[in-house]
Every structure is written in structure tokens, then in C-alpha cells.
């Protein structure tokens, strides 16, 4: 495996921390050594240099925290305190990555806002800001900064907090597995979404065969019902035939009840008729004296007519003289009666002749009156005759005629009824009552059986209708499902495909992770056994569990070292980090800020030797006393350059100078 080489070539700091103004540190060298040793006193700018280089790559984003003495630092801490009025600070890093020289420049134009501008120069090209950031993240992902730019605090947490999820993810990223793991999780999310759509929102994939099964079952049930229905129908028809035959037989024997009923009605009517006939006979008997009038009805009519005519003539004769005669007779009679000889008006006096004439006239008038009286009497007589004849003509004969007609009708009906009664009595006397009873009894049984069959038939008919409805519903569902099946098939295929990818990716991740974990552990053991001051006591390192990269020290007897010293923890962490670095695809620089301060001489010497043996560029920021003579001696063959810092003349800033 060929690792991509990553080397720092030059760093320029401007007004960052205690590096006031422009400050350049050159890492170019002809030496084959890999260690760049900074021997800087406390407050001389070790941590500032460490943080400034880290900031140049990652800025204030990317989840990188800049800490010093337990405090999280921001832009207003990064700017040189004497240049705050200026407001801006920047760092430039020139480096070599996989054979290409690149230059990044990160500037914070105003520490108050904290925003930064980033540019990246690649050969002759130049890209800026977000694009430059993305490119940097590809070349040196933030996790590199977390793992390979460390100080004592990072080492301490690395030794004690390796099970931290973020740290595990970070390791996986460095190993190239995080990207695969992320892809795996995205694929799983997509698969889960598809499956949810497939199985919940759309009809389930296996529903079609289920519906087919349900349809087959329902069809079977329906066929069974139909068979039962056909059988019951046949039974009903046979029973109906039997009933019809028996009914015919019963009718042929005798309809006793019907005859009895009819006989009863006929007798009742006969009795009623007897009463009616008796009534009519009585009425006729009452009117029988005038019955002859029936025969002289026409003569009566004619006679009445003649009498009416005569009466008319009498009336006319009476009317012709009655009024005038009556008036004159009255005057004459008054004159004679009252002896009015002289007129009270004109004083005329009646003569004897006139009186005689008047008396004659009165006599004559009395004669006319007798004639009139005769007419009046004739009129009365004619009226009586007409009244009598009309009475005979208008009433008696007609009523009698009606009574005779009524009597005739009643007699006719009575004769018919008597004949019917005779017939019915004859029928009654000829019926086989016992046979009728037997047939009727059999019919009752048959009708009961028919009622049962009808009930069963109706029940089966309901089953049939319900079965057909259910079957139709299933068929509709089936049709709908069948239409959807193409889409389902497509989604199903996609699910199967992504499942197959997931299986292989899971297997791949597991395989590679196992390989990498083993390789990291092996290499960490090599490093640890070279560094530890107790190679005869410790057997090496072992993982705490099957998943994380958390390790512990094991003694030769296989027992875990429960309470390792802080120095041993640092040794463990350094062993892990060096091993991790060697198991990535990059040969990246390792920047260490006072990593040996807690270690004893033996450990320091061994680490010095170990760092010298690496191919990585190592920036070792040491404080006075951290490197004893023996350690320096072990490092010296690999030291490419050594730097020291000194304060500026006004003692307000640091200047780093190459001393070797």
C-alpha cells in the first residue's frame, strides 16, 4: 500500500497569539530527518504555534475546538493582543500533498466577527472560500487534526475516552470506513422508506397470493352453498309435486269443509229467503182486494183522462160569468134590500118600472146562480172521481206489481238454493271423510317439511348472496392489486437490490473493520512494547470490546492493568495514535505539543527513538526540561531542524529561530 505523503513546507503567522507581525517558519530541509524540534520555554509560543497551524487548516468551523488551559479559544483570543486595533490576523501554510505543492491562506479580517477567508493555491490554480474548504477537507479531514495534532490533554482524553462515539466515528473516517458506513446508513434509510411505502402505504407485496388464496377459499365455500342450494331446490320441487298430488287427491275425495261452508251459507240464505217471501206474501195479501186494478190499469188511465177533460170544461164554464154576475147581483140585491130610492150622489129617484126591472134582473141572476151551483157541484164530483181513480192507478197496482216481481225473484232463488242444497247434501253423503283426514294429515307433514326446506333454502340463498358479494369484493381487490403489481414489482426489485447491496456492504465493513482493528492493535502493540518501560511486565495492549478502539494494557499474566499511571496512559495513547497513523492511507505530519511532560526518562527516550523511526513528519513542541539529554540523544539522528524562541526586544512577542 502506498501512502500519500503530506509534509509541511512553510508556515507564516501574522498577528496570531504572541506572534506579532509577520513570522515565518521554514520546514524545508535537505536532511533526511523527520523530526522538527521546537525547544521553547513556557510562554514562548509552543501552544500558540500548535493552535495556529491547526487553525490555518480548519478555521473556527469543522467541529475543531481550540483549548488552552481548559479554556475554549475564539478569534479575540487568536489575535495578538497588541494588534487588536489592526483587527485582522492570518496564517499561511505551504505544504506538499501526494507530490503536489499547495498553499493555504486563512485570514480573519476582523477578530470581532470571527469569520475567516480561505484560499487554496494548487500549482497555478487558486480556489477560495467554501470550495477551498471542501478541498482542504478532502486532503486533510478534520479528524486528522483531532488525532494527529495533539497535546497532553488530547492524549489524556484519548487514553480514557476511546469509547466515545464521535471518536470511534473519527477513527472509522480515518480508516476510510466512515464514508462506507455513512453510505450503508443512507442505503438502509432508503430501503426502510421503500419498505414502509411498499408494505404499509401500498398493498403488501404478498397480498396478491393471499387474496388469490382467499378467492379460492371463498369460491369453494360458494360452490358448496350452490350445491346445497341445488339439492334443496330439487327437494322442494319434489315435495311440491307430492303436495300437489295430495292436494288433488284431497280435492277429488271431497271438500267437506268447503261443502259444509257452502251448505251453511245456502241454508242461511234459504232461511232468509223464507222470511222475505213471507213478508212479501203478507204485503200482497194485504193488497189483494185491489189486485184486479192491475188488469184495468189502462182503462183507469183512459177514464181519468176523460174525467180530467170534463172537469176542465166545467172550470171554464164557471169562470166565464162568475165574477161579473156576482158583482151585479150584489148591487141589485143591496138596492132592493136597503130600499135606496134616491141616489145619495146624483139624487136620482128609482121609478116603479125600474124597481120591477131590477127585481126581474135579480130573479134572473138567481137562476144563473143555480146553474153555477150545478157546475160547482159537478166539478167537485169530477174531482172526487179523478182522485179515486188516480189513487187506484198511481199506487196500489204498481206496488203490488213490485211485490209480485219480488216474490217471483225470491221464489226463483229459493228454488236454486234448494237445488244447490240438495246437490251439496248429495256431495256430503258421498265424501270419504276418513280418507280426507288422512290426506290432510299427510299434507300437514309435507307443508311443515316444505317450510323447513324453504327456511333452509332462504338461508342458503343468503349465504350465496353474501358469498358472491365477498367474492366480488376480493376480485375487485385482486384486480386493483394486479394493476399495482407492476409498481410493486419495481419497488420490490429495488428493495431486493438495496438489500443485496447492504448485505455486501455490511460484510465488507465488518471484514475491513476486523482487519483494520487487528492491524491497528498489532502495530500499537509493537509501538507500545518499544516505548514501555516495563516490557518484562506487560504483554501489550488489547481492545476493551469488539466494537470500539478503546484499549487497555495487559500484563504478562493476561490480567488487565486496572489503574495505569498517567504516564502509562500517555504511552498507550501515543502507541494507538502512531499505529492509527500508520494504518491510514496518508503519511501525515504529527504535531505534538509537550507530549512527554508526564513521562519518565525511560519512556521519553523510547518515544524519542520511536518517533525517529517513523516516516511521518513530526513537529515536536517541547518545553524546557521535557527533553532530557538521553532523549535528545535518541532523537538527534532524526532531527531535521531545531528551533528555539526568544522574546522580542520589547518582550511583547516571540520570535522562533532555527538553531540547527
Amino acid at each position: 500500500m502506498r501512502n500519500k505523503e503530506f509534509k509541511l513546507l512553510e508556515i507564516e503567522l501574522y498577528n496570531v497569539f504572541n506572534y506579532r507581525g509577520r513570522h515565518v517558519i521554514d520546514f524545508r530541509t535537505d536532511s533526511e530527518g523527520n523530526v522538527f524540534l521546537f525547544d521553547i520555554k513556557n510562554g514562548g509560543g509552543k501552544t500558540s504555534l500548535f493552535l495556529a497551524i491547526k487553525w490555518a487548516f480548519y478555521g473556527f468551523d469543522n467541529g475543531i475546538r481550540y483549548e488552552k488551559d481548559g479554556l475554549v479559544l475564539g478569534a479575540d483570543d487568536f489575535i495578538n493582543q497588541d494588534e487588536r486595533a489592526n483587527g485582522s490576523f492570518h496564517a499561511r501554510v505551504r505544504f506538499l500533498y501526494d507530490g503536489t505543492e499547495m498553499l493555504i491562506r486563512r485570514e480573519c479580517p476582523d477578530y470581532r466577527s470571527g469569520t475567516t477567508k480561505l484560499t487554496l493555491e494548487l500549482g497555478k490554480g487558486k480556489i477560495e472560500c467554501a470550495e477551498a474548504g471542501a478541498h482542504i477537507a478532502q486532503i486533510i479531514p478534520p479528524d486528522y487534526g483531532n488525532f494527529f495534532m495533539f497535546n497532553g490533554e488530547v492524549l489524556n482524553s484519548m487514553a480514557t475516552d476511546q469509547k466515545n462515539r464521535e471518536r470511534i466515528d473519527g477513527v472509522l473516517k480515518l480508516l476510510g470506513l466512515k464514508q462506507l458506513s455513512d453510505l450503508r446508513n443512507i442505503l438502509k434509510t432508503i430501503k426502510d422508506g421503500w419498505e414502509t411505502d411498499h408494505y404499509n402505504n401500498i398493498l403488501k407485496n404478498n397480498e396478491l397470493p393471499a387474496i388469490t388464496g382467499q378467492i379460492a377459499t371463498k369460491k369453494g365455500e360458494l360452490d358448496s352453498v350452490m350445491r346445497d342450494l341445488a339439492a334443496v331446490r330439487e327437494d322442494r320441487e319434489a315435495l311440491q309435486d307430492e303436495i300437489m298430488a295430495l292436494e288433488g287427491r284431497r280435492r277429488s275425495l271431497s271438500d267437506v269443509e268447503g261443502i259444509m261452508g257452502k251448505l251453511s251459507k245456502k241454508n242461511a240464505r234459504k232461511s232468509e229467503l223464507s222470511g222475505l217471501i213471507e213478508g212479501v206474501m203478507s204485503a200482497i195479501d194485504k193488497n189483494k182486494t185491489n189486485s184486479f186494478l192491475i188488469f184495468i190499469h189502462d182503462d183507469l188511465k183512459r177514464l181519468i183522462g176523460q174525467l180530467e177533460d170534463e172537469r176542465g170544461e166545467v172550470v171554464r164554464a164557471q169562470n166565464s160569468s162568475q165574477g161579473k154576475r156576482n158583482e151585479l147581483s150584489h148591487i141589485q140585491e143591496s138596492i132592493l134590500t136597503d130600499h135606496l130610492m134616491q141616489c145619495p150622489v146624483c139624487r136620482s129617484v128609482l121609478t116603479v118600472e125600474q124597481i120591477a126591472q131590477l127585481q126581474k134582473m135579480v130573479e134572473t141572476s138567481k137562476g144563473d146562480s143555480a146553474q153555477h151551483e150545478s157546475l160547482r157541484m159537478r166539478h167537485t164530483e169530477l174531482g172526487d172521481q179523478i182522485g179515486l181513480l188516480r189513487c187506484c192507478y198511481d199506487e196500489e197496482p204498481v206496488k203490488l206489481n213490485d211485490l209480485c216481481t219480488q216474490l217471483f225473484d225470491y221464489r226463483e232463488e229459493e228454488i236454486r238454493i234448494n237445488r244447490d242444497i240438495d246437490d251439496l247434501n248429495q256431495l256430503m253423503s258421498g265424501s270419504e271423510v276418513e280418507s280426507v283426514k288422512e290426506v290432510s294429515s299427510a299434507l300437514v307433514g309435507l307443508y311443515r317439511k316444505k317450510a323447513d326446506l324453504d327456511a333452509r333454502y332462504n338461508k342458503l340463498e343468503r349465504y350465496r348472496k353474501a358469498g358472491e358479494a365477498a367474492l366480488n369484493s376480493l376480485k375487485t381487490q385482486y384486480d386493483k392489486q394486479a394493476k399495482l403489481s407492476d409498481v410493486q414489482k419495481k419497488v420490490s426489485n429495488r428493495i431486493e437490490y438495496v438489500k443485496s447491496l447492504l448485505i455486501r456492504i455490511d460484510s465488507l465493513i465488518k471484514t475491513i473493520k476486523t482487519q483494520k482493528r487487528r492491524a491497528i492493535l498489532d502495530r500499537a502493540n509493537d509501538v507500545f512494547m518499544q516505548i514501555t518501560n516495563k516490557p518484562d511486565v506487560y504483554r501489550g495492549l488489547e481492545y476493551d470490546d469488539a466494537e470500539s478502539f478503546s484499549m487497555h494494557i495487559e500484563r504478562n499474566d493476561g490480567q488487565k492493568v486496572i489503574h495505569p499511571s498517567s504516564g502509562e496512559k500517555h504511552v498507550l495513547a501515543i502507541s494507538f495514535l502512531i499505529s492509527l497513523s500508520l494504518n491510514t492511507e496518508r503519511l501525515n505530519p504529527m504535531m505534538m505539543d509537550t507530549p512527554l511532560s508526564r513521562l519518565d526518562v525511560e519512556h521519553k527516550k523510547n518515544i524519542g527513538r520511536m518517533l525517529s523511526s517513523l516516516d511521518n513528519q513530526v513537529l515536536f513542541l517541547a518545553q524546557p526540561g521535557e527533553l532530557d539529554e538521553e532523549t535528545r540523544r535518541s532523537l538527534r539522528p532524526s532531527v531535521a531542524k531545531m528551533y528555539e524562541s526568544r522574546p522580542t526586544e520589547d518582550n511583547t512577542a516571540s520570535i522562533v529561530e532555527v538553531i540547527i
Binding site: M1, G176, L183, N493, Y497, V498
Partner: protein
């Protein structure tokens, strides 16, 4: 990509190797949502092509 992973990926994924590489590249520098959409599009296309749809 790490060479060890690359070799294993090629061996494990066979003809789907290119798809996985494309997906990994498509995920670079994208938000979680965009990553998912990009991967899903590729996945649908690849699955449908496989089935000749």
C-alpha cells in the same frame, strides 16, 4: 480511498463496485438530505437497469 478497502470493495461488490464508488463521490461535501437524494437517484436507476425496466 484506502487501497485495502478499495480491493475489498471491488471483490465484495463485483459489478456494483462502480455504483458504490459513484455514490461515495456523490456524497462528498453534501448535506445529509442531499446525500440521501443523490444516493437514492443512483440506486433507483441502477436497480431498474438491473431489472431491465
Amino acid at each position: 480511498m484506502d487501497e485495502v478497502i478499495d480491493v475489498e470493495l471491488r471483490a465484495q461488490m463485483g459489478e456494483d463496485y462502480e455504483l458504490i464508488i459513484k455514490m461515495l463521490k456523490a456524497m462528498d461535501g453534501k448535506s445529509a438530505r442531499d446525500k440521501k437524494e443523490a444516493v437514492r437517484d443512483m440506486l433507483e436507476m441502477a436497480a431498474d437497469e438491473k431489472q431491465g425496466i
